[in-house]
Amino acid sequence: MNFLNPAFLFGLSAAALPVAIHLFSRKKRKSIRWAATRFLAASVKKNQRHLQMDDLLLLALRCLLFGLFAFAFARPFFGAPPSAAPVSTEGPATHVLIVDASQSMKQSDGIQSRWELALTAADKMLADLPTGSEAALLVATDDVKPLVPAPTTDHSILRKSLQRALPTDSSSEFSAAIARATAILGQQPERRGIITLFTDNQAVGWRKSSAVAGIMAQAGDRVTLRVHPIGGSPAPNLAVTAVKLNAAAAAGGQRLDCEGVVGNFSDTDALDVPVFISLDEQPPQGQKTIAKIAAHGSASIAFTVTLPADGYHTITISVQPDALSADDARSVAFRVLDTFRVLVVDGQGAASGVAGDSYFLRNSLAPVEPAALADYFVKITAVPASQTGTLRLDDYHLVVLANVPRLNGALATDLQPFLAGGGAALVLAGPDLDVADYNEKFGPLAGVKFGAVQTLAKPVGFQTKDYVHPLVAAWNDPAYGTFANVRFQKRLPMTVETSATIRPQVVLAYGDNSPALVETRMGEGRLWIFGSTGNTLWNNFPLRPAFVGLLSRMVTTVTGGKARELNPAVGQPFVFPVAAAWLNKEFSLLKPGQTGEPSFVGVIERSDRGPLLKSNPTDAAGSYAVFVKDAEEKPALRFAVQSDPEESDLAQVTPDRLKAFAITGEPAEGPADAVFPAKKGNPIDWFLALTLIALLVGIGESVFSRFCSEAR
């Protein structure tokens, strides 16, 4: 809270006046020798209690009265201090021009985009500004980018800066830009301030309308917000709002299921919508048609692509260009592994055949004919538990311990660093597993402790619904398969122990709700612990299709671990840990739609996470290629920047919505220079309100005082 006339706060001391008068009058009592004291004593005794109460209440009311008046005259208000200087409605003003640079401004009528119209309108306004008028220039998305942050009278600089501005694929939200504009205007409190926002008035941009109203209220009368609507009604828009990579292993030469979601942001159904898929910005390698997308609805379409060789790639799903082409394609980046190396440590030895602990595991991880194993991307190394002494865990992506009695050799020493470094491990229980040894060496690491072997009189299955964990969430869809036909005769019961640093999650539970499969994240890596065998000794799970599916999801999870880092949102930088060999190497980027030589960005620097490649904040959605100097791979990396799907909804804000936050007018259809006065939340409101309250208190005091007098 601030005060327009803080000096009046000294008047708060006037609240002490009634107290002082009270104390002074006590000192200045007139003495009288009095005969009829007996009546006096009786009266005082009779009235003392309520007299004291009344007096205290009156005293409080009088203090409050003085305090309120002082407070009112101090002119309190919330937020930034408005100008105390008289505001002139004539003469030069300070302008802040805000141009909406969100993705929706790329909407075009075939001749000009709304962005170009906005630039033209802003340029015309700058040209028409009276001499002496100052102006600043901002570009608004869901953030704010100042082009000319300080008001200047040099209009040519403003116009040049305006011409150099580019639209982005960011979402729109104007509160940050308007707040910045009021802050700029607040530096010149003696001048009028006019904020002019050039926008297509997309409803998304006004999602924080109450915040805008609050900002303008704080700015006071002196600052006016004008919304200059650009373009007319929005055109129908189709957009790819999501691309999902569904399961399947992301390995070179393998087939990958993916799904595109297409949204129809118009009032009519979209019929026979062709959808295309392409890899690494190459020409489309597939096309499908969605028969119908309901108005304001969306539809999904699935593709299967054959993955290219080892490395980082992007898949792009697109629809035919429309008025807003920027959202007609969406890419996702992912990593393809040439080989996925799995180390299977078999408690009984890999050669034990069907009865072996890892027979089903090995066959499920590589579900191909023996002749095709050599070409299959999953390369399995199976060793008996007794030969783990010379193993290097870092050579593998996944380590499976199937009924391994004890954690000896490399398993005891290297497992934790392997997991922390991004590796994955799957531990399967079995009759040979030394529970005490695991609980001692593994329990603190995994947050899971085994109990004694349980033989179940009545076999139990897995949970049959409500699969929450991402690893098994796909099974919520019955089409994906089922865990319902799995039965367990024996198991090692597990107790999950969560601590501040270790937070195990139950992936799958038995039918009796006890944990069956638990996942513990350690750094970049994951550890899965399964409470039963990987063969048919204790259960029939390996015989069920879901066994293969679950292992496949685990492999995909390991390979796709960095999906989030590879797919940042527009406006975010691309930050990615890279190989040590790339430290201090220069890197450059090829942006979406950019041809020719990539643009130099910077140098890979050391960080807490090792060598880190970090780009500038991104401004365009789509597939990016990263080139690292002297690297073998061309490009070395690919990543895809994701735009906000909400930005594809071009619906404009309704006048009612604007009225709701006190900005009135007809922005969409209104005149080109519609003025939306700021909400009046200025100090005079508080002054009047406080004065009114003070008057009410004064009236109350008078009435109460009179009432007390009459009562006495």
């Binding site: 009058s25 006590r26 200045k28 009592r29 007139k30 003495s31 009288i32 020798r33 009095w34 005969a35 009829a36 004291t37 007996r38 009546f39 006096l40 004593a41 009786a42 009266s43 005082v44 009779k46 009235n47 007299l51 007096d55 007390c708 007098s709 009562a711 006495r712």
Partner: protein, 301 residues
């Protein structure tokens, strides 16, 4: 008390005050009886004065049987009082009587009133006795029907000072114990004392056949409580000092005073006493005149 009385007699100013009081009393009384030429204390005494028609409630002993025999009508015989009439005057000289918001205190008013009545009674050749109660001490002027003693009586009255607590109740009881013949008892007090004791004393007096006239003297400030602003009231009879804002308690105070007057009036009604309320703001002549006129009215039937 005797010593102080003697000394006060020798005190020139006291004598002067006494003379002034006597002269004032004479002036008031003589002014009143001009044209009357009859005792205002007319009642059922010795010397026949007139007949009047019997009305229910009259004492049948006073019916004139001869007139009844002659005219077959009931008449009551009325007599002039004679000098065996004794008026006992009791003046409260407690410290509370010393209060006066105006030019005159309650005690001064009581002094003047008592002096006037004494003179009036002596003028009729009736007898007067005076007792001034000041706390436990009492000054007594013995019964006299000698007008020449009026000077001494008024000197005693004039030289008395108000001090000590109000002891009017016990004084009335003592008087009742001493009374041997019927007569009039005039009590001058504010009655700021034990009301029970006052009632007992008056009952006792009433039982002995005394006709009691009670002059309840109060100052106008005591009745109106006109003070404004913070005040500190110091009790005249040693009560606790009370600091208050008079406006805040005026209503309650006035209720207390009203109730007090009602209680004193009830005591009078219970003891067949005549209650005369005296506001010291009113002129003495008016008060005395009003009382005597009332008495004349009630005894002239």
């Amino acid at each position: 008390m005797a010593a102080s009385f003697s000394s006060s007699l020798l005190d020139a100013s006291a004598i002067s005050r006494g003379e002034a009081l006597g002269i004032m009393a004479r002036k008031v009384v003589e002014g009143y009886i001009v044209g009357e030429h009859r005792s205002p204390f007319r009642g059922f005494a010795i010397e026949f004065a007139q007949h009047r028609e019997y009305t229910p409630g009259d004492d049948t002993r006073h019916i004139d049987w001869k007139v009844l025999g002659r005219s077959d009508r009931y008449y009551i015989k009325q007599y002039e009082q004679d000098t065996n009439f004794v008026a006992q005057l009791i003046v409260d000289a407690s410290e509370s009587m010393d209060y006066g918001s105006g030019a005159i205190s309650k005690f001064q008013f009581a002094q003047n009133l008592a002096a006037c009545l004494s003179y009036l009674i002596l003028m009729q050749r009736d007898a007067v006795a005076l007792e001034i109660c000041s706390g436990a001490a009492r000054s007594h002027f013995p019964r006299t029907d000698n007008l020449g003693k009026f000077r001494d009586l008024s000197a005693l009255l004039a030289n008395a000072t108000a001090s000590g607590p109000t002891t009017i109740g016990p004084a009335l009881q003592d008087l009742a114990a001493r009374s041997r013949s019927k007569g009039l008892v005039f009590v001058f007090s504010d009655f700021f004392s034990d009301e029970e004791a006052v009632q007992r004393g008056m009952q006792h007096l009433s039982f002995t056949g005394q006709e009691i006239v009670l002059f309840h003297i109060m100052d106008p400030a005591e009745m109106d409580f006109p003070f404004r602003g913070a005040h500190e009231f110091i009790g005249l009879e040693g009560e606790e000092t009370i600091a208050t804002s008079p406006e805040d308690i005026r209503k309650s105070y006035l209720d207390e005073v009203k109730n007090f007057r009602r209680r004193i009036l009830e005591i009078c009604e219970r003891t067949d006493a005549h209650y005369v309320f005296v506001n010291t703001a009113e002129p003495l002549a008016e008060v005395l005149g009003a009382y005597l006129a009332f008495r004349h009215r009630t005894t002239a039937r």
